[in-house]
């Protein structure tokens, strides 16, 4: 059982929901990313999603696009991120999932990617442009290394696709709460989320977590009621941007994240 499964098991016992924090690796630099991940454990984050910066992040809104672009400007690579995870693992056992577009994985080689991920202590992978239909080989390799492969459900997912996605997912299932890209501001459509999450739960006991467009404690609280976990990304990146260059960046961002985590 990997750290993600353990985390959900523990939460379930305590009847609690998961708070999942996304940050772009290398924004504003890898040192800050490392410090943030370490501080997140104390802030009450259950799982960290580390975004691998990509030149063409077509599922992301302006906030994460900008963070990615800045990270790439100082040459953040998959290998540098692996090394950072390895350093983090000497001090923390917080579950870590890599969120990456498919091309960097494909370019490195799926087998090599999984081997490196396993060896440094990555627990899951989330690939927004890789639907289950194209993911057979990656899923198989992940299974062998007991690394979770998280797939997406969306408001447009049809019942016939839902089964495929639920079956292919391990660790948890990622429900995209908006028809759109990350960082879209919105009013939370509780009815729609409830409908799709309920439909998924009829098919599986796997945890369903909700992300995209969840940006403050009030929304976190509302969404947590409907699912097994809540994912916040762009709002945290905006908090980092606001504190960029400040001495107490880690402290301030961590405080913001703690507020969100408390709301679940």
């Amino acid at each position: 059982m990997n750290r993600i499964d353990q985390a959900f098991k523990k939460l379930k016992k305590r009847k609690e929901k998961a708070f999942i924090a996304f940050i772009t690796a290398g924004y504003p630099n890898l040192h800050v990313t490392e410090q943030l991940v370490l501080s997140f454990e104390k802030a009450g984050v259950d799982i960290v999603e580390l975004g691998v910066p990509f030149s063409d992040p077509l599922a992301d809104g302006k906030t994460i696009q900008a963070a990615s672009q800045q990270a790439l400007q100082h040459h953040i690579t998959l290998e540098k991120i692996f090394q950072m995870v390895k350093r983090i693992r000497t001090r923390s056992q917080i579950p870590i999932a890599l969120m990456t577009y498919y091309n960097p994985v494909f370019h490195l080689g799926e087998e090599k990617f999984m081997a490196r991920a396993k060896s440094v202590g990555v627990d899951g992978v989330i690939v927004p442009d890789l639907p289950p239909e194209e993911a057979a080989s990656l899923s198989k390799l992940a299974r062998k290394k007991s690394i979770a492969t998280v797939f997406f459900l969306s408001p447009t997912t049809t019942p016939s696709r839902m089964k495929k996605i639920v079956d292919a997912s391990t660790g948890f299932i990622y429900y995209v709460s908006v028809t759109g890209i990350t960082g879209t501001s919105q009013t939370i459509l509780a009815q729609q989320i409830k409908k799709q999450v309920t439909a998924a739960r009829r098919l599986t006991a796997k945890p369903v977590c909700v992300g995209f467009g969840v940006s403050d404690a009030r929304q976190v609280k509302a969404v947590a009621r409907l699912a097994d976990g809540v994912i916040v990304g762009s709002a945290i990146i905006r908090a980092i941007a606001k504190n960029k260059g400040k001495k107490n960046l880690i402290q301030n961002v961590s405080r913001f994240v703690a507020q969100l985590a408390k709301a679940v």
């Binding site: 077509l58 494909f106 890789l130 049809t158």
Partner: protein, 393 residues
Amino acid sequence: MTYPDKKGHFGEFGGKYVPETLMSMLEELEKQFVRLKKSKAFQKEFHFYLQEYAGRPTNLYLAERLSKHLKTLKVYLKREDLLHTGAHKINNTLGQILVAKAMGKQRIIAETGAGQHGVATATAAALFGLPCRVYMGTEDIERQALNVFRMKLLGAEVFPVDSGSKTLKDAMNEAIRDWVTNVRETFYVIGSVAGPHPYPWMVREFQSVIGREARRQFLAKEKRLPNYLLACVGGGSNALGLFHAFLKDKNVKMIGVEAAGEGMRTGRHAAAIASGQIGVLHGSKSGLLQTKDGQVKIAHSIAAGLDYPGVGPEHAYYNKIGRAQYVTVTDQEALNGLKLLSRAEGIIPALETSHAISYLQKLARKVKGKASVIVCLSGRGDKDVGSLKNLNG
């Protein structure tokens, strides 16, 4: 076996690499396209607009002075430049707009590089009274100002994209983001044989009218098939349009001409197949310019329509199995090609098309004895005159 297969793959290439939000829509589009492709009423309507509105069939013109100049080649030009809006792009946009209409979509979006696809989409959208937004990189907006103006005249909104390389690749990123957000009512008219399945297949089907006509016309004139087919390849829709009808004619050699930009050795080019790397961008697996870390590299070509780091997956497949050959031509060579055709035949080709024209000179030196060739004259050069003027001072 016919390609793509059921999952939208051409061998190892193609597929559907998109966010989940789009997957159901792509399945629905595929289902609808399969139905419409077989529908007599749809085909009749499509061919009506191709003939009465766009101006098909286009001529297959024997370029006698050019042939004399090249000595070893008898060159026929497939005159897609004579179509309404000035390039082959209109074949595809009329087809896709009719699909959009059949699916009840209310809004049209598109990406454009050179602006030819943008103009062709804006035209088709105007014809059917649909609102249209075209995403275009700010660098392209500058170098293709005439086409920007044309799109606006046609009532389309040209949405400037300022991210990344500010060219076609980034325009496509932004169009996909719009599509993910507005997928229920919006139809995305993709301009090349690229993107997720079923687009590479659908666009090829709409463009393959080029090759079907050319084959028939050549047979009528020469009582045999040509030795070569030649076309420029950015995404590769005019090339596939010409090639596809000749696939089973094993003796007809197919050559796709990619943009070598400032030269293959400088790294500043747009030759996705010649670069030899495979990757995933904008929904499909194919040849892709990328760094050693798997980040997409910015392409370079004097021709905005070829300035794209990827290429249609079917081309990557033909390259792999050896059915077509892919070669490269630099910016400078393309400019020479443009001048050559302008002076030899009184036809100013688009900078994109000029890559194929330029390669004729290399091909002429290679052939033993005499050979015949059909060149897809994919677009006319009016749109490039402004930037050419700047180039010459």
